[in-house]
């Protein structure tokens, strides 16, 4: 293959418009041919500029306000970065203090019901505290994670592979992968000393999310790296299609 360069197909490969078999041919060649890989990089630089030539259109004025109102709340601040509060709200009396203060004015029946409720809640808290202690065993908290990065053709894709400390089993979660038609599937590859073993096939939903439960005959921790390719439906014995995600342990 390396003597039969795929230069005629590289521009279309950069545009991601090749048929599956041609994309597979180009991907295989690129892995072994630095001159064609350089050619690909030059066309990818063309592709990244093409969106700038979309005809100008103005979004409706309400769109920004609509977007900002939909932002899910997230708490990513570290303690050092978190901005100071703009003001201090007046101290509020806890609900139980208000209730206790009102108790003398309530009927004896209410007092009895409250006492029973307090006893039930105390017992419940004790049970939950013991349950948390059981779950807090050190062996349940150790996981190994491997970040998978999107390939140059899908830089927005990402994934993470989480496995237990011994590597007996793991889960792959991906995001940002395009939806494939029914003739194709994503396939995970477990790579060790250059040999690739299938880790399973999976698809993604309309938002690009997907997950895969992984079991392996040998511990996952013994693999060097992991990759995801696009394969014909049902999967392939070895990777043949375009690589979309990759990461090293």
């Amino acid at each position: 293959m390396s003597e039969n360069h795929v230069i005629d197909l590289i521009a279309a490969y950069a545009l991601n418009i090749l048929e599956a078999d041609e994309a597979q041919q180009v991907a295989s060649h690129l892995a072994a041919c630095s001159s064609c890989a350089t050619e690909l990089q030059s066309y990818l630089r063309v592709v990244e500029q093409l969106p700038l030539a979309a005809p100008d259109a103005n979004p409706p004025a309400h769109l920004k306000a609509c977007l900002m109102s939909q932002l899910p709340k997230k708490q990513n601040f570290t303690a050092a970065e978190k901005p100071a509060p703009m003001h201090i709200a007046p101290e509020k009396r806890p609900w139980w203090q208000t209730l206790l203060q009102a108790l003398p004015t309530l009927s004896p029946a209410w007092n009895l019901a409250s006492a029973v409720l307090i006893l039930v809640l105390s017992a419940s808290n004790l049970f939950l505290w013991q349950r948390i202690k059981q779950l807090d065993h050190p062996s349940s908290r150790h996981f190994i994670t491997v970040d998978l990065q999107g390939s140059p053709s899908i830089p927005s894709a990402a994934g993470v592979l989480v496995m237990d400390e011994q590597g007996h089993a793991g889960t792959l979660v991906v995001d940002g992968l395009p939806v494939l038609d029914n003739s194709k599937t994503y396939q995970l590859w477990l790579i060790r000393d250059g040999a690739r073993t299938s880790g399973g096939v999976f698809s993604v939903d309309s938002l690009g999310y997907g997950s895969l439960w992984i079991t392996s005959q040998i511990p996952l921790t013994r693999y060097d790296s992991f990759g995801v390719t696009i394969e014909p439906a049902g999967g392939s014995p070895g990777p043949t299609g375009e690589k979309v995600l990759g990461g090293e342990l």
């Binding site: 005629d8 521009a11 279309a12 950069a14 545009l15 991601n16 418009i17 090749l18 048929e19 041609e22 350089t38 050619e39 030059s42 066309y43 630089r45 063309v46 592709v47 990244e48 500029q49 093409l50 969106p51 700038l52 030539a53 979309a54 005809p55 100008d56 259109a57 103005n58 979004p59 409706p60 769109l63 920004k64 609509c66 977007l67 900002m68 939909q70 932002l71 899910p72 709340k73 997230k74 708490q75 990513n76 601040f77 970065e81 990065q149 999107g150 140059p152 899908i154 830089p155 927005s156 990402a158 995001d175 940002g176 395009p178 939806v179 038609d181 309309s206 690009g208």
Partner: protein, 193 residues
């Protein structure tokens, strides 16, 4: 806090720290471009709005995963937009036949850069305007048939065989058209092979 003078990377960093106004500043800077790409792809204003919101919500949620070594913020955003638009077309199993994607071409000699989103935006926006002018002038030098094939491939994800079917042209002709168009663009944009 006025974030309009912050560079793209600083804004992404602030978005990763859950600073909503930083996302608003990114929208002010690139919302029009994102919407333009989406509308050119799907040909429907409602869908283009949906894609635009989806892209910025994704930036909001994924800003912490952005890696500068993989490309500029602008490239990241436009790549997300293109893939979202093509995904939406594929999910609907139909491309808008009545609306053909096109290019905003500029003839050689045009000196005015494209309109900018806000006067206070600085370096990144000037760069964006210059890049836009450059690529639009380059596209203007391609023959119409190459422009059309490239627009359908880029904005709507047409494969070679789908293009041949849609354009009523032999597969080999379409392949050559795409290849020659990209070759010429690469030369005009002075990108070294």
């Amino acid at each position: 806090m006025n974030y309009s003078t912050y560079d793209d990377y600083s804004l992404i960093h602030l978005v990763a720290l859950a600073e909503e106004k930083a996302l608003g500043a990114l929208y002010d800077r690139y919302g029009k471009l994102v919407y333009s790409i989406a509308l050119n792809s799907v040909g429907d204003a409602g869908l283009a709005e949906e894609i635009t919101q989806d892209v910025f919500l994704r930036i909001w949620e994924k800003a912490s995963t952005y890696q500068p070594e993989h490309g500029k913020v602008l490239t990241w955003i436009t790549s997300i937009t293109r893939h979202r638009a093509i995904d939406m077309l594929r999910r609907r199993s139909a491309r808008p036949e009545t609306v053909q994607p096109g290019w905003a071409v500029e003839e050689e000699g045009a000196d005015d850069p494209p309109e900018m989103a806000a006067p206070e935006n600085v370096e990144d926006l000037v760069d964006l305007a210059q890049q836009q002018q450059r690529v639009r002038k380059a596209l203007a030098q391609l023959p119409q048939d190459q422009q059309k094939a490239l627009a359908m491939a880029f904005f709507q994800g047409y494969s070679h065989s789908e293009l041949a079917l849609a354009l009523g042209e032999p597969l080999g002709t379409v392949k050559t058209r795409i290849r020659l168009g990209m070759q010429k663009l690469r030369a005009l944009l002075e990108i070294e092979a």
